[in-house]
Amino acid sequence: MASVFNDFKEGHKEISGPRLAASLTPVAPPEYPDRLRSFYACSNGANLHLDLRYFLFQANGPKLPKQEQNAWIEIFSAYWKAAGEILKFDEGRGSWVGVFNAWNQVSSVLGRGYTNAGIEAWTIPCLYVVGKYVRTFAIKADAELSSQDSVAFNDRFQDDISFDSEKSAKLEEAARVINKLFTICLNDRTPNIEESRKWGVYNMISLTFKTYFKLNSIGLCKSLLRALNASSADLPPLAAFPKSHIVTFEYYVGVIRFLDEDYAEAEKHLTHAWKLCHRDAVKNKELILMYLVPCHIVTTHTLPSEELLAPFPRLERLFRPLCDCIRKGDLGNFDAAMSAGEDEFVKRRIYLPLERGRDIALRNLFRKVFVVGGFEEPKDDQPPMRRTRVPVAEFAAAVRIGTHANDRTRVDIDEVECLLSNLIYKGLMKGYIARERGMVVLSKGGTAFPGTGV
């Protein structure tokens, strides 16, 4: 791993955004633990600009226009101050708030470099790195503040609401900065798309989403998406972007739609994310499935296969008991599994769609009644027909099985009729109830339970 100045120079020489961005990475790599310290030692601060000009641009440095040189010097002086705060923190004299404030400054100066000084678009990985750490440091600063708060204000009355919004004050500041960095990408008017910052759009919008998610501001995500859609005509097609950008973006859009209860749309985006996701990114694949599985249960009424969940023990534990109950039509244990997993489901915000699995469980229970009902007497040489007139009492008996009714529990026929008409209304079952005869008349020709083969 090279020094900060080396990465800066080599990045420019190779025209490599990632290499250049490495120079602005505020974390020393394990193989070079003193990297930040030796960068900080380049100046004593008295002549910071002169020192930085020397190390960045003399001694074999890149030949850049004056204005751009000055912009980089501004960026690196903000960075130098931030490095000082980080080193102070490492020595036990600093604070995350100090680090965040200094890093926040790096972000704004960097942003100005793009908008005012014409820093070229190939350098945008710098935005990714700086944006990523402004978020990281903000989260740490907020945690630090709230732990101090709880000590300092332990005995004092505190207003819940103001406390809540103060709890993430730094992250909110970070969100504004990151949003600005996203806009710097989105609003680039360079005519040649190859040289446009628009290539940073999906990466930066995902970072903004991630920040809004943490702040629980899903509404802001949607306005951001609207802004993106409004200028989508000027953007390169999504497929032209690196896969890490596409997958992360599609994941967040999928979850945003999911939280809007637009499960069909959510499924489209999550499936896209799933297919393109790197096969070794287990954690991310797990998160995609966390939302894709409930979507699939709602939209197509199908369950994940064993092969799909096998590599993810946490998902297996979360979903398998429910899926087994749905498959078997075991309503009693379905309810038990829902309440056993309730806290977790609510926390992940997947409770509502999973709850809809109860209809599928009921459908499967009633489907079993239909299947064991067998076939009508064959007429002439017609193919065998399933018995399509089924007494309501048989469905009532099935409800007794599904709910593990004991000898004292009564299953009300009215209630069973209600369950039946609900399934018919929802299109999970096709037919009608002939009440006066106590019969359900189901649709003939393999459409009684649409999509299930009978």
């Binding site: 946490r314 056993a340 009564r410």
Partner: protein, 84 residues
């Protein structure tokens, strides 16, 4: 439904209780270690047989259990008829 069972211990409940909450609060989408990769390294194309793996259950039929269910249904049917 009011008449959910109380007479059977729920098998799904035990493992849930033994384990502390399985998901962390900070369970966030991670940065990928590389920016881009070939289609061959993507989930959909990884492994020769991968595309043939059934991701979603396609059949609801459970032939083994059909006979049991049929028997159970007859028994419960008697109770339904007796009570109406």
């Amino acid at each position: 439904m009011s008449n959910t069972t109380q007479d059977k211990p729920e098998p799904s409940q035990q493992p849930q209780q033994q384990n502390p909450p399985v998901l962390e609060e900070d369970d966030e989408f991670e940065d990928f270690p590389v920016e881009d990769w070939d289609q061959e390294e993507a989930e959909k194309n990884s492994g020769v047989a991968n595309d043939n793996v059934h991701l979603w259950e396609e059949s609801w039929d459970d032939d083994d259990a059909a006979e049991d269910f049929s028997k159970q249904l007859q028994e419960e049917l008697k109770k339904v008829e007796a009570s109406s």
